[in-house]
Each structure stands twice: as structure tokens, then as C-alpha cells.
Symmetry: C2
Subunit: 304 residues, 2 copies
């Protein structure tokens, strides 16, 4: 029984997966932050999906940070309050199963690809606090020479756009990343993205501008992934997409306007290639379970 | 003896290549346009590189147009005055060798990769009349599901930029494609791009703006290829690069400014990854020779 965990800033989603990759148990619980909190959350989640008397054959973890190549160590997981943590070593006292870890977006890419039944060239576009994509080409995750393939959030698409934390202006992430958008929104609230969509529905000018920027950023990301790699599908998930239909309707409206202006863009069928990841999709946790049993690419290695 | 031909709008470059892929003969001649002219130019060029008494074992042709998948037929080769031409059938009376054809940018990508000794993930960025890239990933040309991978010329990077023939504003091609830039240059001349660089050197405001746009477009294309695919090298060629050092110096200045503003961009080492293709490089013709003996991917098939 393979276990996969998607460790997010707010929740841990754990799945237990059978030999045929079907999900046999599932749990969601709140993430406690900091190194100790994250380790405790992971142990609790594993306990919830592995029945008494069973043991996990492998554990895979998707986590929003940088994975030190060839280790089960994560760095700069800012949303989790982790600077540097050897997850393999920290979890070893609790389980005998081999542990592999992977960046959360890359794990979700593997999971989304498996849920689509494998096959075609595919991108997974994550619109969360930050924005990044994963690419499945020829049945494997395309990492590139330095593991940065898919870091398209920092492509500038408007020199007159908002300043990005990376130093550029008008990056895709500055326009549609949840962190950047929430920072520019002037009103407090626990769910700033949802508040922006609601205020925009009521005609609020500031909210309308931010909402238009989100759609502009996502449309550009889809365009970039199709023009560069001709992927057959761009699956889109991440925290910002929790606002649902309103977001995708805005993006579709951009594609429709473009298609009217440009036979070339119409021929690329961006709308057909865009696939919203359903709410509560197990893609990220399932992908983590697949990481757990993967051959050992750079960045995903058994501990010990 | 393999023969490769790069059929450009102004010249045909032919090479004969030995079994170890070394170039044993080379010829350059002016392209005659129109279907008959192109066929005659190709036949003349083959004659010049294949010694009397020898026969070509294969002929590969790189041509700036759309290749009908699975055929040796080219369409919409606008610069050659060709709407639709079955090159395989047209050349059959002149040679018994199998003929394969490929889009010129894709052929040049194969050639540039071979000249670098194979290996790493690489992009070839062609800044000609139009702008497009080819991607070598895992030792093969990455075409994507519909053969459009690398069409990054039509990524918009500035909504306030010049209108592109594709209908968008501020496309990479609208900024740095030779055709688009020459159209916006108000003064007549046989070598508009060179004239623009010369006028800019003298402080001409219109020329300075166009020249800055060329550098902006090329820098964005390099950024896009690195962020999306993490290629180790972006080899840059094409007609516009004939202005040489001045162009690459401008692009390097952009990368230097960026690196000062952004540790993230500095870490990507765009400057190190950018490799100007030397003037008179045989990359395109050599790549065409390799197309001639390639396994049969979509878009490159023996005639007959």
C-alpha cells in the first residue's frame, strides 16, 4: 500500500493507493506549521490512511519548497514555516517505509497525468500563492538541466504591469499569483481572492482590475505552455482556482476575443486545451504516492 | 553521401556529408523563387556538391514553410513564392535518392544540436523574417501534439507594443522579426535591419526605438525558452542576427540590467546560455542532411 501526501500551507491531504493506483483511503487535516508541526501533521495523516495492522510500502510527499537534489530534504518552504528540514530523517522514527519527496507542483503534475490516463504531452499549471507549471513530456516529468523547467510564473507579459517579488514588472505571477494579488488588495479578509471576485461582481473598480489581471495572467500562461511545448492539455489547479467558474469564465472570454481577432490564435484552440482541475481532486496526493515509488530522478530519493 | 539543403528566401546552401557527419562539400547559390525556380535552384545546388560519378544516398531539405505531415510537400512558403509544392514529386525526375523535407527552423535545430556534439536540452531560436524556435529534448526534436512547439514568436510580451500580423499586440515577432521591424522602418533600403543599427549608432530616435525593441524581443524569447524548458543553451541564428555583435551586445545589456534587479533572474544565467550561431554556420544545411536520413517522424517522409 503506497501512501501519498500533499502538504499544503493550510491542509495535508493523504491518500493510500492500491497496486492499480486506485485510492483506497483518504484523509484531510489541518497543517500545523514549523518543522515539528509539519512532521506531526504528516505522521497523523499517515496514521489516518493506513489501517491498523498494515504498513505503508512507500511514502511520497509533495511539498511547496525546494527539494535538495538526491535527498528527502526540503528548503525554503515559506508557507510551512520551514527553512531547512530533512524530512526523511525526521520521519524515520515513525515508519520503516522508504520516503521520497518532491516539489508539490511537480507531484501534482504526475497525479493529474495519471488521472487523465497518461498519454499526451500535458502541462499542469498551479495558480496558488505563487505560479508555476509542471510538464509531462514523453511520459515523464520534464525537469530540464537545472530543475527549473515550468517556472513560467516569472515570464513578464506586461512591462507596465505590477512589480513582481522577483524584481521584474508584469510577471504572470504578479498578475495572477494569490500572494501578489492579495498584497495589492486594499481590504482585509480571510479569503482575499474570493472577496475580490465578489466585489468585482458588485462593480467595484479596484476588484474588477485585479480580477481582470488574474484572467490575463492565466490566459498568458496557457498561451506560453501551448506555444512553447504544444501540450495537448493544460490542467489548471491551485488555491486561486477555488473561486471556480468565475475565474475560468473570465479566461475563456479572453480566448474568445483573441480567436475573433486572430485566425492563428483560433487555430491553437486554447479553450479546448484548458482543463480546470475539479475541486477536491486527489491529483496532488496521488502524484505524491507515485513519487514514492518512482525510479530515482534527481530530487526524489529514498532516505537512509 | 548524404546531401542537405537549406533553401532560404535569398540563397540555397547545400552540403554533402560523409558517414561521420563531416561536411565534405559545400555550395551557396542564389535562390530563384516560384515553384519552378526553387526546384531548379535545388537541382543546381545538388549538382554542385555531388561529384561526377557519385550519387547522393539521401537528400534532406529545410524550407521555410509548412510541411504537410507524412509527405515531402511544402505549403505557404511565402518568401519562396510557393503556395503548395510536392517537392518529392518535383525532384523525382532528377534523382533516385530518397527525399525528406522539414521546416527550416526545425532542420537548423537538428544541425545546431549536432554541431554542439549532441547532449543537453537545447533550443534554437531563429530571428529571421519571422521568429520561431526549435527544441531538442532527450536527443530528439520536440514537435508537440500538433507540430507547433516552438512557435514562441507569437507570445505577446507587451500589450502596448506594436500590432503583430497574427492579430495580437507586442508579440516577440512583432518586436524582433525582420519582416515586422522592416515594415515599421520608414526609410527605403535593401538591408533595413543593418540600416536601423547604423542609424541608431548615429543617435537616430526612430532607429534607437526599433533597435531596442529587437533586443527586448530576443531577450524575452531566451527567457521564455529557459523558464518553460530549462534548456542549457539557446542557440540564436537567422537573418536578423547578420548584424552581429551589436545585436547580441544589446541583449546582453538587458540581461545584465535584469541580473542587477533580480537575484532570481541572475540565478538563471541567461547570458551564459545564449549562443550566437556563427555567421556562415552550416547548421541549417547540416540539419537538413540529418533530416534526409532520419527515422520517419510526422512531417519528414520519403517520397514515392
Amino acid at each position: 500500500m503506497k501512501v501519498g501526501l500533499d502538504v499544503g500551507g493550510t491542509k495535508v491531504h493523504a491518500v493510500a493507493v492500491g497496486d492499480d493506483n486506485t485510492i483506497v483511503a483518504e484523509a484531510r487535516l489541518a497543517t500545523r506549521t514549523g518543522a515539528e508541526g509539519v512532521v506531526a501533521s504528516i505522521v497523523d495523516a499517515i496514521t489516518q490512511v493506513v489501517p491498523d495492522g498494515f504498513v505503508a510500502s512507500s511514502i511520497g510527499i509533495g511539498i511547496p519548497g525546494q527539494i535538495v537534489p538526491g535527498t528527502a530534504r526540503v528548503q525554503h518552504a515559506v508557507n510551512l514555516g520551514i527553512t531547512d528540514l530533512d524530512l526523511g530523517a525526521a520521519l524515520a522514527p515513525f515508519t520503516a517505509a522508504p520516503i521520497r519527496i518532491e516539489n508539490d507542483v511537480k507531484a501534482a503534475t504526475l497525479g493529474a497525468h495519471a488521472l487523465r490516463g497518461g498519454g499526451d504531452a500535458m502541462a499542469y499549471l498551479n495558480i496558488g500563492t505563487g505560479v508555476a507549471a509542471g510538464l509531462m513530456l514523453y511520459g515523464s516529468l520534464h525537469r530540464g538541466g537545472h530543475g527549473i523547467a515550468g517556472e513560467i510564473g516569472h515570464m513578464s507579459i506586461d512591462p507596465a504591469g505590477p512589480r513582481c517579488r522577483c524584481g521584474q514588472f508584469g510577471c504572470i505571477e504578479a498578475l495572477c499569483g494569490g500572494g501578489a494579488v492579495a498584497e495589492r488588495w486594499s481590504r482585509p479578509g480571510a479569503l482575499p481572492i474570493r472577496d475580490i471576485y465578489d466585489a468585482a461582481d458588485l462593480g467595484d473598480a479596484e476588484a474588477l482590475a485585479l480580477r481582470a489581471g488574474i484572467a490575463q495572467g492565466i490566459a498568458a500562461a496557457v498561451r506560453l505552455l501551448v506555444l512553447s511545448n504544444d501540450v495537448d492539455a493544460v490542467v489548471i489547479g491551485g488555491g486561486v482556482t477555488a473561486v471556480g467558474d468565475r475565474l475560468f469564465t473570465d479566461v475563456r472570454a479572453i480566448f474568445e476575443r483573441e480567436a475573433e481577432l486572430s485566425p492563428f490564435l483560433r487555430s491553437l484552440r486554447f479553450d479546448d486545451r484548458m482543463e480546470p482541475l475539479p475541486a477536491a481532486s486527489p491529483a496532488a496526493a496521488l502524484g505524491a504516492a507515485l513519487v514514492g515509488v518512482a525510479e530515482l530522478p534527481e530530487g526524489a530519493l529514498a532516505h537512509g
